[in-house]
Symmetry: C2
Subunit: 227 residues, 2 copies
DNA sequence: CCGTGTGAACGCTTTCACAGCG
DNA sequence: CGCTGTGAAAGCGTTCACACGG
């Protein structure tokens, strides 16, 4: 349990979700020529508390030096390795509407270990078009390819999303990013992450609403007393 | 503490984040003409466990009928009210690149309580253009407007995002949705939610990586028993 | 009877505080 | 001495299981 990559299986989900943030912070520090960083400084860059950062990094192994800090390059490599970013991953975007278009052109994907390799749509009027340097293909053409660790991005209308997910799963895809505002049912072992813009705004609306109620004590200031 | 909106202040963040999902599920049921639903059925539609759904709804009050279930219309109204969706909220999108463009045209915003009212960019070549029926304005023009409960959406490059956030905060905006891949520092009381596409993909890559390691028992096959 | 509402148990996440090492 | 790494404690969130009421 000292230096080896021991805790392989045991990295908590909450920690995994923060590793990309640390990676970005480290990239920024590396670009500035910083070569050693303390947990305090890195935590500041990443917007978390230093104790949380140290606990997170401790799941990867002991890559820091006591009394000194972390080697920026080394830590960056270790996190990238843990995330599986040594080699690039292929991404297929399904649904070439507004959002799919924008995602295909989004440079942020390419910069960090991901290559948009396939653009897919069902509409015959769209198939064959060239978007961001790629030719849009049909789902059948995609299914003919051998998907070695392919990540699927669903950018279709919600009505089509479940069918698309089913086809992706059948093809052997087990990592899906869903932009369609709906719940997807997939078998065990398939990882789904969702990005729902309307949901995010509604969550903000809740806080906005409450900020307003706090400001205007119109209908019942019901002050917080105890519990 | 029985039927009144008692637990106003005490709704957990995790619950708030799920209310939009319930709302969408209820909208779907209402569209199908369903007028009563059990926690079991609604949970199924929302992709959660029924116990979690009931606990979540209990924070809003007692809007169910024991032995029967929930009135779809009533519950939908109560959740919408709690989220502050009785009236529409104005949304300003800052940054008219690929993503900003797509967001401006995205119909998912308009459908539920949000109206994209302002499109903002710094580039003089873009200001004045019409996108999705709206004229792109400069930040100065936006700052001249009185922002009544405005929600800001940052779709700029990460280098500009902090400056944009600062200006929004100065204008009195306290709800921000950030698409730029960077950490934003804002004062207490300002709510930030982030959507980071590269981060989501990296989290998926982690699971993909591990699924692969599980499949190829190169360095330790440790199989999962049953459940 | 049936399904909601909810205390209580459980498990995960964060924070604290400090031992241990360079 | 300074900062990492980490047990222990505190705080949240989820699940369980059942009392309660229509």
């Amino acid at each position: 349990m000292t230096a080896a990559p021991a805790a392989r299986r045991g990295i908590p989900g909450a920690t995994v979700a923060r590793l990309p943030v640390y990676l970005r912070a480290l990239a920024g520090l590396a670009a500035k020529g910083v070569d050693t960083v303390s947990s305090e400084e890195l935590a500041e860059s990443a917007g978390v508390r230093s104790a949380k950062l140290r606990k997170d990094l401790s799941y990867l192994g002991s890559y820091g030096v006591r009394g000194v800090g972390y080697d920026v390059v080394r830590l960056r490599e270790e996190i990238a390795r843990e995330l599986g970013l040594q080699h690039d991953w292929s991404v297929a975007i399904i649904g070439m509407g507004n959002l799919g278009h924008a995602l295909a052109a989004y440079s942020g994907f390419a910069t960090r270990g991901f290559r948009v390799t396939w653009l897919v749509d069902e509409d015959p009027a769209i198939v064959g078009q060239t978007i961001a340097g790629l030719t849009v293909i049909s789902f059948d053409e995609l299914a003919a390819e051998p998907p070695g660790g392919l990540i699927g991005v669903i950018a279709t209308p919600p009505t089509a999303a479940q069918a698309v997910a089913d086809r992706l799963v059948t093809m052997g895809v087990h990592s899906i990013l869903n932009f369609a505002p709906c719940v997807l049912n997939v078998p065990e072992g398939v990882e789904i992450r969702k990005v729902d813009l309307a949901t995010e705004l509604q969550i903000l609306a809740f806080h906005e609403q409450h900020a307003r109620e706090d400001a205007d004590p119109i209908d019942g200031g019901l002050q917080e007393a105890t519990s």
